[in-house]
Symmetry: C2
Subunit: 413 residues, 2 copies
């Protein structure tokens, strides 16, 4: 069994407002035991439609995982539809009924009549306990186990608990003991094509691990996934290639795991016993906000100012008014003075200053939308970078914050 199909059931998933995200979690879990997802379907609570979908899935896929539609109402048709597809009768499972009743009783409530429906399951189903809710998951097999069908609740916490506790161990055995291992290298400061040019000669000769390049907000990620009979083997396949890519990309890589740039910067500041303060204009507080997302950031972040008006630049960073007038608010000089001023006023060891034109209006020929000046003050040195970012206001602000954080990271390398 090497591939799976995931069916998300719920009419709210067919509106413009909700996306099926359960399948992302399930995909990650399945991948880790060597199973790939090769089809995903989103269906509503219309019975004939769902029956078609369920029938095709059971015919074409060795593993089918469906989420949602196990609730107590009329609209919850998942159990019934799969029973019909598998030609199984529905039976009332008294032990499930008792468990549901006990759950209500423990909260001082009587079980509503509706909920009895959740104890009605196809004959031969294995019951997957749900610690967190009333609807148990179900494990069904077709024939001699050629097809496995797993029905899970749509509530993410319940779905995850049941999958990890009751499904993963069994599936792992059945998948022939294959393991996938993924390592992610996150880089910033290079374009996707620059990066690919550098590393393609390294990863191209390998079919295992598989290398995927994904561009995210302000970063390019290199995903390496190895597949082998043991996790150790999968890991070593990945590390062999990943290590060479890491050497090649050097300090463009800011993280080799889940860590965000603001987490990495925080760790560097802590480790080097430095403290940071920021003075932001065009980023409007985004840099401070990103830094303080990290729990414990008060140990190295002294604070920041968002000086959106010229008087506030003067008042809070000691900017000479004449400098603002001579150079203009968006200039290298002002960025540098912001960095030095805020560092001194906050009593930090490193200061960042950012000023630019985030748009959509406010640009001019000499100072177009996307122009950003960044400065970092440390000791008696002040570094400066001038950047021209493209895109909308949100993108320009994010890139400015990303570049500012990366200046701190590189300064502390």
């Amino acid at each position: 069994m090497e591939t799976a199909e995931i069916i998300a059931i719920g009419s709210e998933l067919l509106t413009p407002h909700r996306v099926d995200s359960n399948s992302l979690y399930l995909t990650g879990q399945l991948n880790s035991i060597g199973i790939e997802v090769d089809l995903k379907v989103v269906a509503g609570d219309q019975e004939t439609r769902l029956e078609q979908v369920a029938r095709s899935a059971v015919e074409r896929s060795p593993l089918v995982i469906a989420t949602g539609g196990l609730g107590p109402t009329e609209d919850d048709i998942t159990r019934k539809v799969f029973a019909r597809v598998l030609r199984r009768q529905m039976v009332l499972q008294h032990d499930i009924l008792q468990t549901i009743r006990d759950r209500f009783r423990s909260r001082g409530l009587e079980m509503p009549g509706n909920n009895a429906r959740q104890a009605l399951v196809p004959v031969g189903a294995r019951i997957l306990d749900n610690r967190l809710g009333t609807a148990p998951g179900l494990w069904l097999e077709k024939g001699e186990g050629e097809v496995v069908i797993i029905l899970l609740p749509g509530v993410p916490s319940e779905m995850k608990a049941i999958f990890e506790e009751s499904c993963l161990p069994l599936l792992s055995q059945r998948s022939g003991g294959f393991h996938l291992f993924t390592r992610v290298l996150r880089s910033t400061g290079m374009t996707e094509s620059q990066l690919d040019e550098q590393i393609a000669p390294i990863y191209m000769p390998y079919k295992n691990p598989v290398t995927t390049i994904l561009s995210g907000r302000g970063e390019i990620q290199v995903h390496l996934t190895g597949r082998a009979k043991s996790r150790q083997e999968a890991e070593s396949l990945v590390h062999e290639v990943a290590d060479r890519i890491q050497v090649k990309l050097g300090d463009f890589i800011f993280s080799t795991g889940d860590q965000s740039l603001e987490q990495v910067v925080g760790e560097f500041l802590l480790r080097k016993k430095e403290t940071l303060a920021v003075a932001e204009s065009c980023t409007g507080g985004l840099i401070a906000e990103r830094i303080t997302r990290v729990p414990g950031s008060s140990r190295y972040f002294m604070g920041g100012v968002t000086c959106y008006s010229n008087p506030s630049k003067v008042e809070f960073t000691g900017m000479p008014p004449l400098l603002l007038e001579m150079s203009g608010a968006v200039s290298a000089e002002v960025a540098k003075r912001l960095a030095e001023g805020i560092r001194d006023r906050m009593g930090a060891s490193i200061g960042l200053g950012v000023t630019g034109v985030a748009g959509p209006s406010g640009g001019s020929r000499e100072k177009p939308v996307g122009l950003v000046h960044l400065a970092l003050a440390k000791g008696d040195q002040v570094e400066h970078r001038e950047c021209r970012f493209s895109g909308d206001r949100e993108r320009i602000r994010f890139w400015a914050s990303q570049t500012a954080l990366d200046m701190v990271r590189r300064r502390l390398l």
Copy 2:
């Protein structure tokens, strides 16, 4: 034609990292002309799998929209697969080839040989111009037009432009002139069940419009969708119910459209000729960042400080050190003093002060994680609110920022 099936094609959509979001946009557009989406499929670039999916779709759905897989590489198999399903030959369209060549030439480049593949289309396809990229969209029909198949690029901007310019008008005609009209009421300050209790008696008697309640970050949205033969009629169905809900919910509603809370607050400030400054502790710059997301916010936002350390509270808002010591950094008195201090120092007419425990650590019995004090200073009045938010750091910070912005909105009503 009242229902549609959407197929998203791309192997990256079958990884744990990417979700198909094009279908959300398409669903919204289709709904607006009375077409509902009743099935969504995500498939990779494996040919036999995609062919099965395409074949089932063409057999069961009157309208099939596929996105992705129209690029110039070997993996881009959408054109080929649908041609096979519809039993059409592929022909090289010289005008498409010329358009692609011209597009490269205008950027001073030669067209790579690969791209010629994008001019190879099924016989009888109607070409949908792509102003923004090289791959045109394709409109195919089966039989006498019983089934319409639309192939669009996966790049969101290209997909949207082609859909709106070339598909929407034609589909609107074919959908029998049905129109859907949706109005969204956005509220904050009430729980979902409180809100539903208030408005259920109003919307329950109606099947048209359909009322859906969605809870989002820091807000509850009420979506009302009416369906009728004309847009006017659909609108008036919706307004009849929406107006009564709006009266019932009163000032809990902050927006009756797409406007975010920060946009609404910005408009109020502009209209009332007030200016704002903020002093944030636990929200770490998030309030300033949200306010400055709005283009033109420099007209009413003077600036903010993120005072993460006690000395910075003293230095930037004139906080008496004794007050900090006596009341503690997380207290009503400190929030009030932050609001007044920042207003005066920034020369604004309204000041906001926020201090709290965002967690996960730093909580105590008297001051647990989630405790936040908020204050608003205007004229010689200082309002104060004490809140206890639940959830993780990110949720507590967001709710604190939402409550602070809502205090400004209510003060200016």
